[in-house]
Amino acid sequence: MSSAVTAAPRQQTGVIVEQVVRTFGDRVVLDHLDLTIGDEELVVLLGPSGCGKSTLLRLLAGLDKPDGGRIEVPAKRAIVFQADRLLPWQRVLRNVTLGLRGQDADQRAREALGEVNLTGRENAWPKQLSGGEAQRVALARALVSEPELILLDEPFASLDAITRVRMHDLVRELRRKHHASMLLVTHDVDEAIALADRIVVMSNGRIGNAHQVALSPSAREASVAREEIRAALLADLGLASQH
């Protein structure tokens, strides 16, 4: 596991990314990128494929090291990957308890599975789950450790549209119970509007424009403000002319 970078932490909560550089060979993927995520804030990182979204997320997760700059994240963090990444040889419950210690591990895992509406599926094998169920197990596995930062790497990209909308509802519901900062990486503008407190658009290895989204759940579905944000996001992504 990675440990926090050299200097002492500057704040107690959230995420600080300062002037982070990451290069692969000659290609500069992250070019002096700055980003902060507040306590309990859900930031959506929006951008086209290959713009470095996942690279940034892997850096925050500690799965990769920056070539320059400074990253500060809570030690208690969890990741939900694009694929569910369940262990096929462990039943659902044991998949959720993977990182847990202590006597109450099973009980906590059961509760986490209940929160994602999977009570009764504890003894199923991953091969018996549908795509949505598997991704909810992955969500439960992330939540069960009560992380202070949850990183979601296009977690719903491989789900069908109906299941995805249900997952968005679920995420909103879970945010009421769990008080964690969240970074969700996606290329789906509608998903970004549905979930974000703040949407940041990434381009050329940096964070471009940011949009605060302070709308009610119903206003996120349909409202003038929603359409304005959507148009602005599409403009940021260079897609405005098509609409």
């Binding site: 990444r85 262990l87 096929p88 040889w89 990182g99």
Partner: protein, 299 residues
Amino acid sequence: MTNVIVAPKPAAPSGIAPAAPAPSRPRDVFLPGSVRRQTVLGTLRRRLRWPLGIYTTPVVLLIVWEILAKTGVLKPTYAPAPSDIVSTTITLWRDGVLGPDLAISLQRAGIGLLLGLSVGIVTGVLGGFLRSGEYLFNGLAQILNTIPLLAVLPLMVVWFGIDELTKILLIAFGAGVPMYVNLFAAIRGVDQRLIEMARTTGAGSWRVVTRVLVPGALPGFLVGLRFSLAYSILGLVAAETVNADAGLGFLITQAQTYLQTNKVFVGLVIYSILGLVADQLVRSLERVLLRWRPSYEAT
């Protein structure tokens, strides 16, 4: 596919004349199995198909062999009838020849397997988990892997004499090398993304090993076990035919000297039964240990 019935070409709508005589396109219609057209031939074919599972072919072969032998097409010195082999086996057992021979052979195979599997598993685990383990064992194992088992035998006789040690070491060699090779590949082949995921959940090294690497390497381990068991029997045969005064191989060599073909066959049958038992053992292990695996089931 078993459930395919090609539907009759749909009749052209009677009222409207078709614009052009459309070429009949092949279409598939899928129906539940019970709705399938019941033809006498089809029912017969289904019922006759593989009544004994994987043992159908061996049993059919045995029956054909028995008939050929009884009608005199096959000479007894060439290949005695299966019923002769069975009665010879019973006679040998009653005479107290077969029992001790079988016991000593099984003992050799057991000790050799135990030694070979232990060495193979320990080195395989070390090589799989540790970079230094890989450097230490992998080159040697890959070299040994290409050396045929039977070619080592003369050398072992020179080094270790013609006693039990040579026989056990040969069996151990046969069992150990494939176990190492397969276990090493299995551990290295565990999905990197799952290991990464496990680390991000905060699981410690021990958890990662016991919950991810070991179960992930299990399918490859069982492949290794299958090869180990087969090669250990091969090693047993080779070791016992060279110099032995007891054991199945001794039985066969002795029978060969006196042209007792039926006794040779008794030895061969027992070897093949050992192989069959080993295979069934691994199969049942797979059924229990690999329940989680979505596997292909042939129709």
